[in-house]
Point group: C3
């Protein structure tokens, strides 16, 4: 992602001058310059200001802000302001207000508050985007469009119900087909007319916490709502592109956000951008995984870090300060995983309302003599010095982990076998092991081409979409190593079970049959007992949550359960298939197992760690043309010594040569240009 106007890592963030008196504005600019800030995201929540009533549009204030900043060398990431509708609109056109999960019509308030199927909302949001595009299409300050803000939430109003029926008609054509794919004969829920279908919520098929009587309708409603919001985005996208075909368009995503299928959104984002808000106790590997997932949305294309806090958040239970150096470290972690921007929420801390205790570049004290501002300035200087070095470089991974939102929804919605099963946790366990092995990993969707990888891991691949089993088979046949786990291959894209024995369509490639699935209480454990040593993998490990009771149908039994009535049954199998191998992990293993297991698989495929580092030191590598950049990030409280082995390189941040054994300070970062 190289933008000719500003060919460096963009630095800045959300800026809301409309909340402030004019006298503050000059001070802002002075401090932005001190901090090396060159991008401001404007107009995020200004709809009510831009459009004080149905007929009137007012953009002079925005002209002034954009110009003022531009004259001071600061570019604009221009938001469309449609993340929250104006109060007058809610009063005049109540159809913009959502009906919530409990069936309550909401009143004006909050954000994420517009019904995605409201014709009023769609009309005026689209119109706003178009007016902005017309007005600023030739403005040199505008780098990128930022549509709406953090799309999210579902609506259950009558208009959504009507649109859902239309959506269903398009997808399934006949009501008979709907009855079949939702298995409505169960409990006698057969529909004879489209109008009998109502949205699944607390008044109909669902309960709190993803409980549903009918997974089929619940799954489709999630698809429908995710697409409804995407539709809103696309209306704005098209309005913008009509007038500014060459300005990229994005909207800020929220990482692992449950309710939207971001893989469906990604094709309509020119560049992925996202908001990263880890807490003091968030594992670094979870942040890393989320960066990789965001990068994976567009097959490895660099992404934007659209928001992060320079110091603390306001909405967590305990809003710890980011410790000294951590803001910088986590900024570089984003870059290390493919970000080409470092942006904050927000540039100036607001004076009132619920985010006033959210950190900002300019704190309430208003001057530059703060720890936070100093750290922001130092990073700003570094990024200026880094110039365009890293831009558009890519990470190259031979290992991929599959992540699928619809699969996640189906697992979340499943009634049984265990409430302890959490898809994201299971995926993260595998990622975490690779992370600690310094094996670079891609997070990919089910549309991704597998042939670029040596090892593909699909934890709890419960839902097999049409053609995906064949895709895996051909990957393995051609020499790939495939890993999946318990509770995989169970259903099709409508959550209907693939009959004939689990893991359904994956049975052939895995060479096993899962006869039963035991769910363990949190205080119950079983063991993975190796039958023979495989690399580091030996002895026994713990497992739990679910235990598939499997039979080999050709697969080699590598490990067996250590206890309970299925002691001696296989828990880890390896199936030779074509030129490759397909592994099945029949339970949820402990950390030690995964580290030994995955290092064995990687070794077997000749995949080496990027570097051997002490615990807590993260490594990634970005490559552009023939240039390789090695990132070394020390998350520890103490400095760490890293052996660079044969490597001779230039430390880009210090602009000096390094080799041999180097010391990385606590929270320190090195970017080595090989």
């Amino acid at each position: 992602m190289i933008n000719e106007k500003l060919p460096k890592i963009w630095y800045g963030g959300d800026y809301n001058p409309e909340q402030w008196d004019r006298k503050i504005w000059d001070e802002d600019v002075r401090m932005f310059k001190l901090a090396g800030i060159d991008v401001a995201t404007l107009n995020v929540f200004s709809w009510a200001l831009n459009q004080p009533d149905e007929e009137t549009y007012y953009f002079e204030h925005l002209d002034e802000q954009i110009n003022r900043l531009y004259e001071n060398g600061i570019y604009t990431c221009l938001a469309t302001s449609t993340g929250a509708h104006p109060a007058w609109m809610a009063k005049k056109y109540p159809d913009v207000l959502r009906v919530d999960f409990n069936g309550r019509k909401r009143k004006f308030g909050g954000r994420h508050n517009s019904c995605p199927n409201s014709s009023t909302y769609r009309k005026y949001a689209g119109l706003m985007a178009e007016k902005l595009a017309e007005r600023y299409k030739d403005h040199p300050a505008v780098l990128i469009w930022h549509v709406s803000n953090e799309y999210g939430g579902y609506c259950y109003c009558d208009q959504c119900a009507e649109s859902f029926r239309t959506w269903l008609k398009e997808r399934y054509k006949t009501i008979d087909k709907v009855n079949q794919v939702w298995n409505t004969r169960f409990w006698g829920h057969t529909f004879y007319d489209w109008d009998e279908i109502v949205p699944p919520n607390a008044l109909s098929e669902e309960g709190e916490g993803n409980v549903s009587s009918f997974q089929g309708i619940s799954l489709d409603y999630r698809r429908f709502q995710s697409e409804s919001l995407l539709e809103c985005y696309k209306i704005e996208y098209e309005a913008l592109k009509k007038h500014t075909p060459n300005i990229p368009v994005t909207t800020n995503l929220m990482g692992l956000y449950q309710e939207l299928d971001y893989f469906k959104w990604a094709p309509y984002l020119d560049v992925v951008s996202w908001d990263n808000y880890p807490g003091l106790k968030t594992p670094e590997s979870l942040t890393a995984m989320t960066h990789d997932l965001m990068r994976g949305l567009k097959s490895g294309q660099p992404f934007m870090l659209m928001e992060q806090t320079p110091s603390q958040q306001n909405w967590q239970p305990y809003n710890s300060l980011k410790r000294p150096g951590v803001m910088r470290l986590w900024s570089y972690q984003a870059v290390a995983h493919g970000a080409d921007t470092v942006l904050f929420f927000q540039l100036r801390r607001s004076v009132g309302a619920c985010e006033k205790y959210h950190g900002a570049v300019i704190e309430h004290v208003g001057h530059e003599h703060t720890r936070v501002f100093r750290e922001v300035s130092e990073l700003g200087g570094e990024l200026q010095r880094l110039s365009d070095h890293l831009l558009d470089s890519r990470l190259q991974s031979k290992v991929a982990i599959v992540f699928d939102w619809e699969n996640r929804w189906a697992i979340d919605l499943s009634s049984g076998p265990s409430v302890a099963l959490n898809y994201v946790n299971e995926v993260h366990k595998y990622y975490d092991a690779l992370y600690h092995l310094n094996i670079q990993t891609d997070m990919i969707g089910v549309e991704e081409d597998l042939s670029q990888y040596d090892v593909v891991i699909a934890p709890v691949l419960y839902m097999i979409k049409p053609g995906y089993a064949e895709k895996i088979e051909s990957f393995v046949k051609n020499g790939g190593t495939f890993v999946t786990t318990f509770f995989s291959g169970i259903v099709n894209e409508n959550d209907l079970v693939t009959l004939g024995g689990y893991p359904g369509e994956l049975r052939k490639v895995l060479g096993i049959w899962a006869e039963e699935i035991d769910a363990l209480f949190p205080d119950q454990k079983n063991q993975i007992v190796l039958k023979e040593e495989r690399g580091n993998l030996h002895g026994q490990y713990e497992c739990g949550i679910l235990c598939d009771l499997i039979h080999s149908e050709g697969a080699k039994v590598v490990a067996e359960y250590g206890s309970d009535f299925y002691k001696g049954m296989p828990v880890l199998t390896e199936n030779a298939y074509g030129d490759g191998k397909a592994w099945y992990v029949a339970s949820s293993p402990d950390e030690g197992f995964l580290k030994d297991f995955l290092s064995h698989l990687c070794e077997d495929k000749g995949i080496q760690p990027l570097l051997k580092t002490p615990q807590g030191v993260e490594v990634t590598e970005r490559v552009k043309d023939d240039q390789t950049y090695l990132f070394i990030l020390n998350h520890n409280e103490a400095s760490a010594t890293v052996d660079l082995e044969e490597l001779e390189a230039i430390d880009l941040l210090k602009q000096q040569k390094v080799s041999g054994s180097v010391s990385v300070p606590s929270k320190g970062v090195m970017i080595l240009k090989k």
Copy 2:
């Protein structure tokens, strides 16, 4: 319960062929035969199929199923399909939809979803039952009618409000009487007109968790709703009986289900049937108690085990598999407690919706080579060999525990003295002690004749209904041993306190006065200190939850409190009254106390354990004519040795003579014909 058509323990369960393609049907029959299945429950959730619109009825599919099965030797338990209304009905007649506890009108979805006072629902449910009765009245396959399914839940709609007022008029005649029995002068809630009365829910008198401002109205609303659903049942019952007076009618109950007063229902059930779903951690004695309660609903008449899972459930947090042998063991436990059928939910596991991870005889794999199917088949064979041996035999108990739903509601609704007081737990504590002593016990309602028992225990008999105190007095006068506990005798059937001193109407027979009631925090305990040894009962024990501060008014003080300011006050008293004795246990004791206390009482009355067995080995006895069947059930993980003492008998399952010391394998069962 001996049915001439099929004079053996019925074996089979819920079967939903309408959810499946025709090609599966033949396979089903083949496997049913392999498993020894001879009964299928059909038509449970087929209302929408049977009646696709208001005018049309369609039963050909059902004809075909019944015939097909019958031709293959499988009888039908025929459900009426009214457990969930069709979607078209909800759309056309929204009065069938309930209003929930929070006052929300529900939309179509779920089951248990019909307003019990909806005229539409009552009309069409009755009509459906009648049409089925007319159609199948002469069909030789039909063994029994299964009305609706698992009746449950309450409604708070305007129609229910109106019907509630009518119900109140019938019960109380005048509004003055209502004001009096609800004590509405409290908080000035006096009603001057029936129309001022609204259902007690979250919008009026109640809060979450049985919190109520007025126990009187809340108690009556529970009575009214339980009776409203019973009314629905009776409409179908009468429609069925009109055409098939000789076919028994039942509906499947749910054991300890809180919301319905099953003792009020039992007179209208020709045979009690119920659904038994213990989990891995459910105490065996709780299952046993529930069987005994279900048997007690009709004074000891054998009952039907209508549903159980062959392997696992889907709706528990952790759905463990039933360990090998456990399905068989628990099936025989039901029989040992009076069941004359062993039926499953379900015969074939569904392909979609929320119960697809609920176990079934035929699993998703679809063939017979599964552990579950093998266990089902083995049991099927055994039951065929048992033939009519056990049918209609009875359990004979000299000890009874009183259980009363209205008493339970009143305790649940009570504001104070302690949230820790749980009626079912207190009852179960007493049952559990007897269970471990191998003392066979009946669970009886307040209508039951007490003269057949030597010992009657009524834990926390908070509510004394009209005449019940006299019934107890006469039982004791005639030599019986009566036991009750703290917080008993407090209120009448309207939850109005019996003035003049606790335990109110029981004060005379117990010879005590309870001056105050202390509620203990969970971390507080008191002690039961024996004043003299009574059999095993000696030394001291722990107690808690509530401590009544009692004074003897003639009763012998057997034990005193060991601490707090009421140290030295009586905690256990025995009152000689007529030829019998009435005991009062003034606090909630520990397990050890109850075992020693109850064994003392039984010894005193010459009641002997059925057999002395190691821990974990359950024993019951069924008797028919002069024939006695002794059940020995080993719940342990290891085999157990049981000393049969003088007994010489035939092991019915192995068809061999046994005597002396026998070994019962882990999860094993013996049925000894003396």
Copy 3:
């Protein structure tokens, strides 16, 4: 508070003869006399009885009760009966029913159930008060008016919305001003018309647990609702005063009740009265603090203990009995803190509905031979003997703690920095330390004159109202010692941050700047490390919850943080300002610190403990004219020896001289007249 009709500590409580048959009434009077009861609170919940329909009023029953009691020497505290509206009113005029936080229109039920802005409710409540005043204005029995009962709860109906807009217009005049003080530019919530504003609840700006998107509107809605209820009170107050200008008027408050700003109410109460319901585990110092707060509402004027239970409550999870002596001890504790009455809820225990397990003077047993009645009678005798001794005497404190409801609301509503921050807890920590030091303390509002105190402590004074910083400055300038803590001085009365650096307006007097605020997880702790010894204050202590990162701007750094990246930064500072000192405690300290810190401050100002007593022995002092009464209250389970030092006095309860070392029995009380 000396009432000529009954110049002694009033003794009695809530009495509801209308719930009882006439035959009980004589028995009541007999027992009241036995107990020394001379005041009965009548008519609390009799609206439906007094006004059976819109046109009819009926007071004959009340006449009879008042007369009957008066003839027996018992005076009346006359309630206006408007604490719960009649059922007929709810049916005929649904505008009296509230809409709850979730937007649900309630139906008839409960209490606290009238919309405070309902014109129907206001009209008929006012009319009822007026009719009562007219009728009883000359009745010699009536001592005081008791308006409604325990006002509380909020409403969110359309009428409230309309009244809220009117309230806002009066307060802010223009919609622009509203936009400014609520900072509506944030999230684009700008209002262009008053009608666009809706109440903040679960359908608009708020979530469960004081979560709000806009603190400004939420704060104003709390003010508005508190004032709306006060408005209802004032309507009755004025109706009463019109006819009985000389009879005092009160309403019973609820101590630390969150939802009403009692400091705003106090000016309209002729005397403060409140209901005191501690539980077994409530710290005695919390009860003491609440008494002091209630006394502080009217600047030290004696208050009424309007309700307490003689034995147990019904609405706590575990309703322990008050141990022997505790009712007496806690009654005297109230008197020791300024109460001039001892009243119970209730005189006779009700027979039905939710308070039947709430203790009463006359228990369900109905006679006087109970522990509870004996204790009540003994106290009754003592209070008669005490005569007018203590009446209208005052407590004199040199230390005050500031308590402010609006500050509390703002802290509760704050999004960030920590959910662990609880204003009442923080205030109580300081109070508790002084309590254990036997330093008498006033609880004061922000309107109170500070010049009467030597030490003023304002824990977490987050919100600084106009002029309050100046008030503190002048207090310190004149020699006072002021203490405040972390998270103080942050916002103005609209929850808008005071820009320029925390603690905002307090920065000058404190001589510090708080740069950042760290929120600690519950398992995180920091340390307060003293730089030098200050009295008892030395070594190190623990602290947590929030840690302000402060810089001295002139203040002396007395202690530093002991760990984390801000180790060595100031955690305790003392700033000389004028003749006084201003202290800042930058984190939430442990108990040990506060005891040492506050004893140091008091010593420094020459404030001595009233007496040195063993742990658990509380001391207060009331003074009238030249007479001093010293209260010694032993809360321990064992007797305690108290050294009276030089003091020679008369033990008022025993009517004997005491001096030297005296033994106070467990739960015992001494009132020493010096």
